[in-house]
Symmetry: C2
Subunit: 358 residues, 2 copies
């Protein structure tokens, strides 16, 4: 079993902790290991043969450094895309490499920047998916929804008469409006699209060949040596990325394939899309405060604050539902319900040429 970690994200919504050179997956938004490292940690007990991490050239060095400590336990390869082309080319490249050495090898595709509270349940769900993947299915993990989320895509599955699954996926749906999300939650047949997939390398390549021939063509022309010396592929990867389309594996393959099944996963999952989601990851205190990276949080008549410090003290007096984030060189204050607007801060920094804070 091979792990493929998609780690090329470049989100701005965790500014000022996340920066261009250190996007979400390369930071710890709580304490301790980074999100990338946690992604590896939670999968290591499943004893993968290798880990392939697909990132981009700007982040490759930091990614290598963060994973250096794991190389005594499992071979780790870091592939740098010369340019981001969404997930289909990244998945296709990883599958091509695995298939060159082990055509029927099962690959587990994991985003590097999600949070999963129940690691044992994750491993069990993946194990079920691996069984089905060996039989040729394209497996996806569907998260059992706990709220009418409008920020996630959904899968609809045919759950009737099938026990604990796996279930055939009947359709993929984009982010719904609130009313639709409520209907999904009540229906019980809709699941959050987690972006976690399991399949045989040869099977996903067969489906890419069918549904994305403009990607399959360039990938099929990559030639391999006998060893896992992926550094030798850099020139060929450069070539491939000059022509491949920018498309997600969901839209490009999964929505069109008739070989897709789903394992339901109730695993305490969050994509931690912004500072306001920190409350899904860290248990709030009695004043509904969520506090990380502080020597102390001094709360005078405040409630509902999300606080990420720079190791020292953060104090709030008489404020409600604010996000307060401090780093060595930047501070952010923003209401919890405007966490998405952190993007606007990053845009203004860009416009004003304040690159050292980006």
């Amino acid at each position: 079993m091979y792990i493929v970690i998609l780690a090329g994200g470049s989100g701005t919504r965790f500014w000022p902790v996340s920066r261009h050179s250190r996007p979400k997956q390369l930071i710890s938004i709580t304490d301790g290991p980074t999100m990338l490292q946690r992604t590896v940690d939670r999968i290591l007990p499943m004893k993968p043969k290798r880990i392939l991490v697909v990132t981009n050239s700007q982040q490759a060095k930091e990614t290598e450094q963060q994973l250096a400590g794991y190389r005594t336990k499992v071979p780790v390869d870091v592939l740098a895309e010369p340019v981001g082309r969404n997930t289909a080319p990244a998945v296709g490249l990883a599958a091509t490499i695995i298939a060159a050495h082990d055509p029927e090898g099962v690959m587990v595709v994991l985003p590097a920047d999600h949070y999963i509270r129940n690691e044992v349940q994750l491993q069990q769900a993946l194990q079920l998916a691996i069984h089905s993947a060996r039989n040729g299915w394209l497996m996806t993990l569907g998260i059992v929804p706990t709220a009418p989320e409008t920020g996630y895509g959904y899968l609809e599955a045919d759950t009737a008469m099938r026990g604990i699954g796996p279930f055939p996926v009947t359709r993929f749906v984009e982010k719904p409006d609130r009313a639709t999300a409520l209907a999904y939650l009540e229906a019980g047949t809709f699941f959050w699209n987690s972006g976690m997939f399991v399949w045989r390398a040869d099977m996903i390549l067969q489906e890419i060949d069918r549904h994305l021939p403009e990607l399959a063509g360039p990938l099929s022309r990559i030639s391999f040596g006998d060893v896992w010396e992926l550094g030798d592929l850099a020139g060929q990867i450069e070539q491939v990325y000059q022509t491949v389309p920018s498309v997600s594996i969901d839209y490009g393959v999964m929505e069109k394939s008739d070989r897709v099944q789903m394992v339901a996963a109730d695993i305490g999952w969050s994509d931690v899309g912004s500072w306001s989601a920190l409350a899904e990851v860290v248990d709030p205190d009695q004043q509904e405060s969520v506090v990380v990276n502080c020597a102390a949080y001094i709360n005078v008549a405040s409630s509902g604050c999300t606080v990420s410090g720079n190791g020292g003290v953060v104090a709030t007096v008489g404020v409600q539902d604010l996000i307060v984030v401090a780093t060595a060189d930047a501070v952010l204050v923003c209401p919890r319900d405007r966490a998405q607007d952190v993007r606007a801060v990053v845009e203004e920094l860009q416009q004003r040429g304040l690159n050292r804070y980006l």
Copy 2:
């Protein structure tokens, strides 16, 4: 003319920039020189003979360091009180020292932690006060009020038929309530008590002798050498402070003396009592933001914020009338109208034993 600067304050309302070891007068709440240094800077053009700074033993070293650069221009003495006893003992001690060398020397008493926008007007007002002080009056500067302030003490003066003054002071009044403050503002005969005084050393000692004999006694027993070697006095000062009463010069002498006159001063004065007063010192921008110590302030849909950074970026999104202060190891967020409650933060730090942040 001698300058006596009262620099022994230990306020907590500018936390986290001010700390026990660096109270308000020893920090810059804007940019550049500290409040103590600004106090010296604005008086230097008046060519004082000497500057005596009265502080306490914990702050003496830092005070010496901040004033070291001025010694090429004017002799500077730093006196360390072994224990704080309000302003009357500090003033009396300075007057005793000056009188020992120059009995009719005029001393100008200045608090070290006030802000004055119009320095030329200050110097002119002091010059007028010095003229009257030479004739034996105890002079005080009364600030022409610009708002019905409830946080200041007031002087009432007999301004009728006296042109630009000086004016006899008819009474001292404590901090008024709002209605009274409004009446004071309309009356035109009330002024803010600035804590700035001008008198001859022998005259204030004479009044201390009359109204505060328990202070005058110990002071009169201090013996001096022929030179300004104030370090030699440490032992005697220690003795004096074991018995002197803790009382302000206003309450202990000025309110009781019939030799008090006032010069009206319209000098852009503020005692900068809390973070909310920063708006009196720094010009707000179009969003009513007041910003100091920032490489940049990124304002997304915010207004009325008071921002003191740690040299980097501060960003606010969709918040109004907040104080945001960052230092290397601490962050404060507080509504402008609760700036007084910063005190509660300091108290909690004390209770929790977080002394390194005090």
